[in-house]
Point group: C2
Chain length 406, copies 2
């Protein structure tokens, strides 16, 4: 009998009506003869409300206590979904992360799953139950509750799918799949039937809205196909997997953009070993995430070092970097907070000439100035003025003929 | 070092401000050098709201799932209280019922505590923590969550106190102790400094509003003194214990009343063995709680059987009893739904003559007709017209000179 793991996010579980709708979808899978394990997030804004409550009590609630508090959100939604299924005449049981055997380290707020001891899940499946597991949470060896941090429920679902040898992990959310570009921006964007794990990872912030990169990485590691589809419609969704057909590998698969980009350039840096570390170590300690880093080739042992951060972190980053720049003898620090990022993504692009040239040409035709360029095996990214990001995505979508779909 | 167990109810934990107030009270105990274990109920109306949510999903939510759902209410309040204490600079940790080792049978919704495995609680106390335990919940051998039903958090507190060998179990609530009569009814009622376990149990519904009989029984069994006091004031409360002084034993300690009384009389019952069972068995099966039962001495092998039920259950009880009465050859069934109950309570009353006579005399002086009389070792109860209950309590309070207090 085929085993599937399904995951439903907070917006799919927002109220009694939606929970009943989710129950009907699960029932369809059960009626097809599948064994079903379901992972759920907390209802709607529950997690945010619990966090708000905690901060009414204490400015520093403490990570262990916050994790216990937050874990209740997913437990509530798991019990309600089990009730809804039972009301429809299906055998169903809810399990907490602890009961489902999600064993983690003790890093509260962002615990890593160490292993899944799914004995209880297997036993309940054998009893004929649909098993509803509270996502986003686990338990330490000390029997303390942890939460998994960002993408936690997606990760729970893929980890369970790997541990149980599920055929597929189905992530149901409020979008109906992965598109050739963000459909909010490009209405003519096409839904992809399939995409490779690595391509999905390169979709970065756009992709992360669909399914968290951490879950995609885990899927790749255990070779679990991940279907992303809408919980509100019956459209077929996008399958993220490793076996993407030969023919679709060598082409641009998707365009991604990001409007939350600020740039800092340290100008006139003496090119000595240890300089990069002296700049980036304090930023890391302060919890500032660095995205792109570009260091130009040096001329007369002087170079410029440019990196990007989220806009909200620009001021803090500048306060840290300016004294460092002075101390290492750099000329000055300049920043620009009105930037955006546009990327083309497709496996094997770098092995095929011409993609970068076509991308730069398309931007140039639109009169868009490229401020920075970075590339990976399967991605080419340009940092441009934020006001031109939309034009850029539209132009690239056209040039790479993505309207035609796959 | 003295160990105390404190319990705070839902109204004491209703919002962030009240939780901080509770934290300050706990801190006072800690500052006195006491080791403190705290049991909490869910915040305010949380439990009712969760039940409402469940019934939006399903008319029959299922007891196992309901228990998991409801258990989250106490977990939320336990973490918030731990956060509040930590914000004040105290070491504190929250534990679920499962983590605190509250092992129960698998009777969902009204599980019985089988044992308390308090290893983790002891370990956290040794680490210097104030230990906050989610009340009302436990865990089965199968690692399934249960709830303890009515009086669950009071019972958790007394069970932990017994298991840890605590000096006292302090129940903090929204009343400041046990009174000689319900202070809402008799403003001149006096607060008792102390009361025996059995006297407290006989206070029945009035007493149950203060601390649940189940917890009092457990306290008696393990000889744990239970202090009942207000979480909102600093008044001294009432100590429920076994060692009530000789002098106060032989007197009326408290007057109790209950307005929720309906009476059914099966008239002209042939006095044969098995008749009582044939009437009460179907009522028990239907979940109808019988309070007082009175069967008069029979004349010519014919007797009348009278019993009382809650008013809300009268119609259902009559529907069940009428056909039975007919089948056993009774003459008729009559009911009266406008009744109340008034009791005088005091250890050793029946060994001392005159209490009953004084009670009946006091009611007679007020022109109050007594419909039924029942007694126990330490209680005399009269069923009277509901409209006269208040007059009766006032008269008895005066006659037994309870305004003088002890």
């Amino acid at each position: 009998m085929v085993l599937v793991v399904q995951k439903y996010g907070g917006s799919s579980m927002a109220d009694a009506k939606r929970i009943k709708n989710v129950a009907r979808r699960i029932a369809q899978a059960k009626d097809k003869g599948e064994r079903v394990v379901v992972v759920v997030s907390a209802m709607g804004d529950t997690t945010d409300e619990l966090i708000k409550l905690a901060y009414q009590i204490s400015e520093q609630p403490g990570d262990r206590e916050l994790d216990v508090l937050l874990s209740t959100g997913e437990i509530v939604s798991s019990t309600l979904l089990a009730m809804a299924l039972r009301a429809m005449g299906y055998e169903a049981i809810s399990l907490s992360g602890a009961q489902a055997g999600i064993r983690t380290d003790a890093t509260y707020r962002r615990a890593q799953i160490l292993k899944v001891e799914a004995k209880r899940v297997v036993k309940e499946l054998e009893r004929g139950n649909i098993v509803i597991v509270a996502g986003f949470q686990g338990i330490t060896d000390e029997m303390d509750i942890t939460t998994l941090g960002r993408g936690g429920s997606d990760t729970t679902a893929v980890a369970l799918a790997a541990s149980l040898g599920a055929e597929v992990c189905q992530i149901y959310t409020d979008v109906d799949g992965v598109y050739t570009a963000d459909p909010h921006l490009i209405p003519e964007a096409q839904k992809l039937t399939e995409i490779g794990y690595e391509e999905m990872l390169e979709l970065a912030s756009y992709g992360a809205k669909v399914v968290h990169p951490r879950a995609v990485e885990l899927g790749e590691l255990f070779n679990i196909p991940i279907l992303v589809a809408s919980s509100f419609t019956d459209s077929s969704g996008t399958l993220i997997h490793g076996g993407v057909s030969m023919e679709v590998r060598n082409k641009v698969r998707s365009i991604a953009q990001d409007l939350d980009v600020a740039k800092i350039t340290v100008v006139g840096v003496p090119d000595r070993p240890g300089i990069a570390a002296s700049i980036f170590q304090p930023l890391a300690t302060a919890g500032i995430s660095i995205d792109t880093i570009v260091q130009n080739a040096s001329i007369d042992n002087i170079t410029d070092l440019t990196f990007t951060v989220a806009k909200s972190q620009l001021a803090k980053a500048m306060r840290l970097v300016e004294p460092i720049a002075k101390s290492i003898g750099a000329r000055e620090c300049v920043s620009d907070s009105k930037l955006g990022k546009v990327s083309i993504i497709g496996t094997g692009m770098q092995n095929t000439p011409g993609y970068a040239a076509r991308m730069f040409g398309a931007l140039s035709e639109q009169g868009i100035n490229i401020q920075l360029i970075t590339t990976s095996e399967i991605r080419i990214t340009c940092i441009i003025d934020e006001s031109r990001v939309e034009d850029a995505v539209r132009a690239l979508h056209r040039v790479f003929e993505m309207e035609i779909g796959e």
